[in-house]
Structure formats: structure tokens, C-alpha cells
Symmetry: C2
């Protein structure tokens, strides 16, 4: 019997990497999503929603040559033994949707989608197992005009969110440029996939490690300050040199131009250095047809965005951009905030890219065998929110709490409920205190809720047909007032009686005074 | 090698019971959710979000006496072998959240939450495996004022969504009334759980089967028109009589009062019949203390909502309301649309309740052992959306498509992109045609997108420094114009040239004309 008396109680906790979102953060997110939605709609994208659960094979998430889903996704079997998975991004479901509905869609097809995605990965700082993405994709066009437009969309979205021009940059590259480079050093074959990936990972660390660090990672490997050793890509000296030479062209060109000691004729400082860079790369790497064709496309994109009014300060070519995802097939881009960001302890942190995207011409083909060009971008909502918050670009004030109608006489709860309802009918956030505690606890509750004021009617007030209004915002300032007359005046303003019939008006006046 | 040449292609399809949501439905849903949110905020509820994944034990979804999750939920093991599940409602995660954060929460704690939930059940018409719920809950108060308030919230929400007073009703009951009835017929013990459930299921069918059908289901069982036999609860004759007597008190009282041939003194027709009903039940079933106490609480709730201005037409006691969920412990309620609803083929359908809720005082106790009273409601968003759509209460017009800038000369795509951007900068939805097709296909695309107008600039227009604006809405009406002069006039209005510099203004004028 003791088992019955002491039932086993589950612990109230969340699995690792999953979090609740409290009111203030939810409101800030909703505000941010509404602004993003406006920009995306303005660009002609239409909303779409797909379910959280898809067939694992439709997401392309079976392990190669195995009848078992990738460990990076949450998977479970349906009752007919088919594997299902939670979506890990919004692009794979879009590819499934397009393949399934191809005939009936307008072409090109532009859609945006916002929602949670799930990754069954080891969580860490800034790495969650559920997070929100906001995507826009254009399916159909092979033209770089579609890619250029997404870069402009990224820039416009950041500005709509209050990031000033100059405090963000959209960096553009083309994964075929690096592919071409790898071909020229003999890593173009399928059997070199692992080595290629190691080179790309090294290049991706240019920002953080500088050219020497990257050089080490291209060769045998690198020991960091803590003594940890990272194995390198194992390139020989001439291969590694070719890669660092490629990166140097970019780095040197920029630094020479920035220093003002090198400007090709007809150029203005601070404008269009990337045209010069593309030109220099075309001549330095002309032996790779893959790279040449990609550089020519980048140049078309560059011209398009410049003609539409987007300068180097907003969108620029950066050959060190490496987007990891295997499925990109052409232009890739990422936007980052350029203002240094510090965490709560004042430490500088690398936020990473807040928008990223690129062209993936093979994703729909997986289903249909027919090539359907597509390009898209994805906003990391939580990361961007964190960045905006840190930069002070988010309204920090929370929504005002409700007016609380206190309950002094339990028998008259219907009267109090009526007062709360009268306030709501006047579109004022209001609630009846529903707990069991006394006056003091009720005032504490109102404080905790961030109430602007409370409404009080005890026996005395009822007898006089009055209610008391207590302004909690003004009331909180009283203790700091030194001057006696001023104190008494403010005290009278902070709590006063009005006839019952004037309650709504009096509350409205208090709210207006607080906003003033 | 042929395996490589002909890869196995996954089929593009969704698992059963899961659906994509297209743009129009998404927009209508977003509009509806915003209206609901406004009302909930006005009542002082604060938003909260919890992740989709929870520990199975925290959701209370292990099968009794087995270390295996209920089949009704989607479950999978974490890498530490603990069972995880997708949430199947928003109430169980709230209970987990409250138990986890009890110390820091304001008390009472009022929160609302909107989001998808998942049921691993057999899908059917109107039964999906993912759907959206919108919940509000008040945690802490044991007072019926909290339950009464939720009934008022349900009524206000439906009116905010455009359902006129008289076309919905919130029906209130208390599960202890039926519990009390079951006690009086000897079914109060734990071993009678299955029988109790069968009785409740029978009572729940009163609307559909009438008193005779229910009587059959209380006894041996019932054969329906198709010949299918449903096994009954197996009550003996005197037990069944007691239950039908209970239901008759309700039915007869209502019909006598509606017919105007029975009105207790001091009552007005059409007002407060449920007070009389409560009174009649109190005298008919006075031998059950459980029922008596519940009826007294219902009477308190009734008084509260009446005092706040909610009449019988909006909120009323209905003893036949059975909410299935095991966890309800007190007042239960459900709101339904009372206007007959027909499906696309004109067949009348039973939509069922669009809002439902009740008191569940045991849910947080599961974790902590401490009783925390709570009451809440849940809106079935998809069902309500369907009901509103059928009743014509949803704006049917879709959002206007974007203005499409046609591409006539591929070499001048940057110019066209600039035009689209100029329109966007003036806050006009616009896009560049990004496909590869000719003029005719571009016009077709614009039609499919619901574009208000297109912008055209070929070589001739460019030479003159002009653009053509073509109004697609007005243009579509031309074929129906019989009068020649009228036709020519409208034709001229439907397509016209303006100087390039006036493009934005001309488009804005066309949009204004279409809205007029």
C-alpha cells in the first residue's frame, strides 16, 4: 500500500537543448517576425506552412547506404513502419512541396515560411535542439537576378529591423569559385570529398585565425593556444600555397585599397573594390573554367545590385565565404552584423551570420529527376534577436501589465468582476484579482504584473459610491521626493477617489498621464 | 553502374493526417489569431511558449504500468535512452512549466499559448495528426470567479471574431454533477471506471440520439440505422432510469419554459431558465452531497456572469455537457456555433465545440504533490476557422498580388530590377519577373499571382523615356463591355504610358482606383 500512498512523481524539467520562451522575449520575437514578414511580402513572396513531420526519405535524411535515419534528426516510425522525422530546416520540406505540387504552382514560385525546426544534436552555447527559421525562396529562375534580389532582401530586412546602413554587410561568394580552385590543385574527384571539406573548413576560419592559421590547417594541422591540436587537410606545399595565394589576393587587394595606396583608374575610394577584386581573380585563376564562369556570374550580380542602389557598404563579394551545406550549387551569401557585440559579461562574442543562403539547383531534382533551379535565404531568428537586443535595437520596455481590480470584500466579487469587464470593454487591459490573499499580497501581485494602477473599493468607498484609483508608477516615485509640498501633491495624484461611474475615465486619465 | 544512373527517387508526399497550409488560409489564420490574442491580452493573460518536445513522463503519457509511451503520442528515445514525446496539447506542458517555475511566477498565473500539437491517431475527416490550439489558463485560484471569467472570455472571443450574439452559446456544467449522479447509482468506486466512462459517453450523445438512444446505450446497447451495434453501459433498469430522469429534468424544464407554459414567479421569459433548472436539480437530487455542492458552485458562476452582463443567450448551464478528458475536476464548459453549418456539398454538418475547457486541480500536483488549482480553455483553431469560413465571417478576398515588372529586354534586367525596387521603396508589393519566358507567359504569370497591374518597358517605350502600365483588374472587365465608346474609354484607362519618372505615382493611382 505504501506504493499507492507515495506515487512516483515525474520531475518537472525539459530535455537538454530545449527552452521555454517567456512573455517579453515572445513579444519581441513577434514584433520582429512581423517586420520581416512585411519586407518579404513587399518583395512578392507568399506565405506557406508545412507540417513539422515529414517522411525521412523526403527530407533526404537517411544515412548513406543504410535503412536508418541520420542521427542529426529526430526520427520515429509510423504505424506502417515507415520512418518519419521532424524537419531540420524549411528548405527540404519546400523541395518536397514543389515536387508534389509542381503543375499547379505559379512559375517562378516565391514563398516565405517561418517556423520551428529541430536538430538532434549536442546542444551548446547558442546551439539549441529547437529554433525558429524565417526563409524566403525563389523556385524556377536560374538567373542571378534571383540571387541578387535575395541579397537585397537581406539588406532591406536588416534595415527594417533597425540595423543602420554600415552596421551590417551581406557577403556574396559562389561555391564554384572554391570548387574551381580545388580542381586546379587536383582535388576535383569524388574520392577527394573529405579533403575538399577539410580545405573549405580551413578557409572558413580565415576571419578568426588569419592567413597563418589557415595555412597550418591546410597542411599538417594546427595547435591552438590551449594546446589542442586540430588535424589539417594534408595538402602538399604547392597545393596549400595556391589556396593561400587565392585568399591573399582578396586580403591584399582590400587592404591596399583601404590604405588608399592602390586604386585602379576610374575608381573612387570606398566604392566597388570588389569589381577590382573580381577582375584580379579572373586574371590570376584563368586556368579554371569553373571559377571563371562563377566569377563572371558574380560580376553580373554585382552589377545588378549596384544598379539598384546597393553599394559595397551593403552587399559585397567576399571569396572567403564558405557555406557548409552540401546542397548549394552556385552563389552563396551571408549577412552579418559588423558592430562588435558583447555578451552580458562584457566579453566580445562572434555572433556569426544572421542571414544565410544560396542557390541549390538539385533539391527538387531529387524527387522528380527534373532540374528545377532554386535559390533561397534563411534568417536565424533567435540569433538575430540576440544580436538586435545586444545592439539596443529592440524595444526593451515590456507591454504594460493589466489594471488589477482588488478584491476587498469576497461577497462582492461579482461587482469587482463587473468593474474589470467595464475596463476591458473600454479596451483597457484589466483583470480581477483571483487569488485568496489579503490587500497587501494583492498590491504585491499588481506590482509583479507591472500593473499601471489598481482599482480599490472597500466598504467605505462602496458606502460613498466611490472607487479609489492607485497609480503604481507614480506611487513608486514617492519615496524619492524630498520636498514636503511636492510630496503631498504627488501623493494626492497617486491615489484618489472618483465616483463609481467615472472609474473608466479616471483609469484612462492615469494611463494617459503615464504615457506622457 | 546502372544503379548509379537510375537513383531511387523518394516520392514527394506527406504522411497521412498532415497537411500543407497555403497562403490564403495562412493569412486568414494569422488574422484570426491576432484577434484572439487581443482579447486574451485584454483579460490580462501573458504569452508563453514551450518547446514541441517534452519528456514523455512529464506529459503523463506512459501507458499505465508499462515503460512504454501511449500510442496516441509521437514518441522517440533521446540519446540517453529517456523517452521524449511531441506535446499532444498545451495543458500538460503548462503543468510542467508551472511545477518547474512555481516560486518565481506571479500568483495567480495567467498565461496564453498558441501553437501546434500532435496526435498519433488515426486521421479522419476533420481529424488531423497536427493541429493548432490557442489556450488560456489561470493557475492558482480555486474560486469559480476564474471559471466564470473563462466563459466570458470564450464569449468575447467569438464576438471579436465576428460571430454575432445569438449565434453561439457557451454551455457550462460541472463534472462532479455527473460524478454525483453516478455515485447515487452505485458507480462511485474505482473499479467502476470503465462503466462510468460508458455512461458519460452515452450522455454525451443526447444531442444526437435523443433520450431513447441514450437510454438504449445506458442498457444493453443500441443498433443504429446502418445495423451497427454499439455495446451499452450495462446499467440495470433502475440505474438507467435515474440517469434518464436526470437528463429529462433538464430537457423538460427547458421545453416547458420555451413553450411559455411554465414560468416560476418573478422570472422573465428567455432569461435565467438555468437558475430554475439548477433549483429543480437541487431538489430532485438532494441525496448526493457531491452533486449538491457542484450545483451550488454552478449557481455562483451563473450569478457572476449574469452580474457582469452575460445573459442566457451567451452563457448557460447545460447538465448534458460531458468533457471527456479524465483530468477535469470541476466546472467544464464548451462553446459552439448555433447557426446550422453546411459543408461544400450543402450537407448539414455537426461542427462540434469550437472552444472547450474546465477546471483541472490535479495536473500540477502530479509533479509536486502540492495541489495547485487551475482552470483553462482551449480553442480549436482549425475547426473554428472552418466554422467562420462557412458562416461567411472570414474576409474571403486574398491579399493583393504584387505588381509585376515584365522583362522584355534581358540585357536591361538591372533597369527592371530598379523599377521593382522603386515600387517597394514606396511600400508597394512588387517583383521583377524572374523566369525565362516571353511576354505572353509573363502576363499569364501576373494573372496567376493576382497582380493588380504590370509595368512594361520595351525598346519603343525606352526610346521615349516612358513605361506602360497595364491595369489587370480593369483589363479583365473589357470583354464584357458592349458599348463601343465606353469600351474605348475603359481600354485607354486600362493600359497607358507615363514618363519613367512618374511610374510609382501612376501605379499608386491604379491601386487607389481599384480600391475605390
Amino acid at each position: 500500500m505504501s506504493d499507492r500512498d507515495e506515487p512516483v512523481r515525474p520531475e518537472a524539467r525539459l530535455p537538454k537543448g530545449l527552452f521555454d520562451t517567456p512573455a517579453n522575449e515572445l513579444r519581441a520575437t513577434a514584433d520582429m517576425l512581423a517586420k520581416i514578414r512585411n519586407v518579404f511580402e513587399c518583395y512578392g513572396f507568399e506565405p506557406l506552412d508545412t507540417p513539422a513531420i515529414e517522411y525521412t526519405d523526403a527530407l533526404g535524411k537517411f544515412l548513406p547506404d543504410q535503412d536508418r535515419p541520420n542521427e542529426g534528426v529526430f526520427s520515429f516510425k509510423d504505424d506502417d513502419e515507415q520512418w518519419l522525422s521532424l524537419r531540420y530546416d524549411l528548405t527540404a520540406p519546400l523541395a518536397r512541396y514543389v515536387a508534389e505540387n509542381y503543375q499547379s504552382l505559379p512559375k517562378p514560385f516565391r514563398r516565405y515560411q517561418v517556423g520551428p525546426v529541430w536538430r538532434n544534436e549536442k546542444p551548446g552555447p547558442g546551439r539549441f535542439r529547437q529554433f525558429t527559421q524565417f526563409d524566403a525562396d525563389t523556385v524556377g529562375p536560374s538567373s542571378v537576378a534571383a540571387d541578387a534580389e535575395l541579397c537585397m532582401l537581406a539588406a532591406d530586412t536588416l534595415e527594417a529591423l533597425g540595423v543602420p546602413r554600415g552596421q551590417y554587410v551581406v557577403k556574396v561568394n559562389d561555391r564554384r569559385i572554391l570548387d574551381g580552385l580545388l580542381e586546379t590543385i587536383g582535388l576535383g574527384n569524388e574520392m577527394d570529398a573529405a579533403k575538399r571539406l577539410a580545405v573549405l573548413r580551413a578557409v572558413d576560419k580565415l576571419d578568426r585565425l588569419g592567413i597563418d592559421g589557415v595555412t597550418a590547417l591546410l597542411g599538417k594541422g594546427r595547435k591552438d593556444e590551449s594546446g589542442d591540436f586540430t588535424k589539417g587537410a594534408g595538402l602538399d606545399a604547392s597545393q596549400a600555397l595556391r589556396v593561400t595565394c587565392f585568399l591573399s589576393v582578396a586580403a591584399e587587394t582590400f587592404s591596399r585599397i583601404s590604405a588608399g595606396n592602390y586604386l585602379p583608374q576610374g575608381f573612387n575610394a570606398g566604392d566597388d573594390e570588389d569589381f577590382y577584386l573580381i577582375d584580379e581573380m579572373l586574371s590570376s585563376f584563368h586556368e579554371s573554367p569553373t571559377m571563371t564562369s562563377a566569377l563572371e556570374q558574380i560580376e553580373s550580380m554585382r552589377k545588378l545590385v549596384r544598379a539598384t542602389g546597393y553599394g559595397m557598404d551593403r552587399i559585397r563579394f567576399d571569396p572567403s565565404v564558405v557555406r557548409g551545406l552540401e546542397y548549394y550549387t552556385g552563389p552563396v551569401f551571408e549577412a552579418e552584423l559588423t558592430t562588435p557585440i558583447k555578451d552580458e559579461r562584457g566579453q566580445s562574442i562572434r555572433l556569426g551570420s544572421v542571414v544565410s543562403g544560396g542557390r541549390y539547383d538539385g533539391l527538387v531534382e531529387r524527387f522528380t529527376g527534373v532540374k528545377v533551379p532554386a535559390t533561397g535565404l534563411s534568417i536565424g531568428v533567435s540569433r538575430l534577436l540576440y544580436g538586435l537586443k545586444t545592439l539596443g535595437k529592440l524595444p526593451v520596455e515590456s507591454v504594460q501589465g493589466p489594471v488589477v481590480v482588488l478584491v476587498l470584500d469576497r461577497d462582492r466579487i461579482a461587482d469587482y468582476q463587473k468593474m474589470a469587464q467595464d475596463l476591458r470593454n473600454a479596451n483597457i487591459r484589466a483583470e480581477l484579482y483571483l487569488g485568496e490573499s489579503g490587500m497587501k499580497a494583492q498590491m504585491k501581485y499588481a506590482d509583479k504584473r507591472g500593473s499601471p494602477c489598481v482599482v480599490i473599493q472597500g466598504g467605505d468607498e462602496k458606502a460613498k459610491g466611490e472607487v479609489q484609483i492607485k497609480d503604481l508608477i507614480l506611487g513608486a516615485t514617492l519615496t524619492s521626493i524630498k520636498d514636503r509640498d511636492d510630496y503631498l501633491k504627488k501623493q494626492a495624484e497617486a491615489q484618489f477617489a472618483v465616483p463609481e461611474a467615472d472609474m473608466v475615465k479616471a483609469v484612462r486619465d492615469v494611463l494617459a498621464r503615464q504615457r506622457a
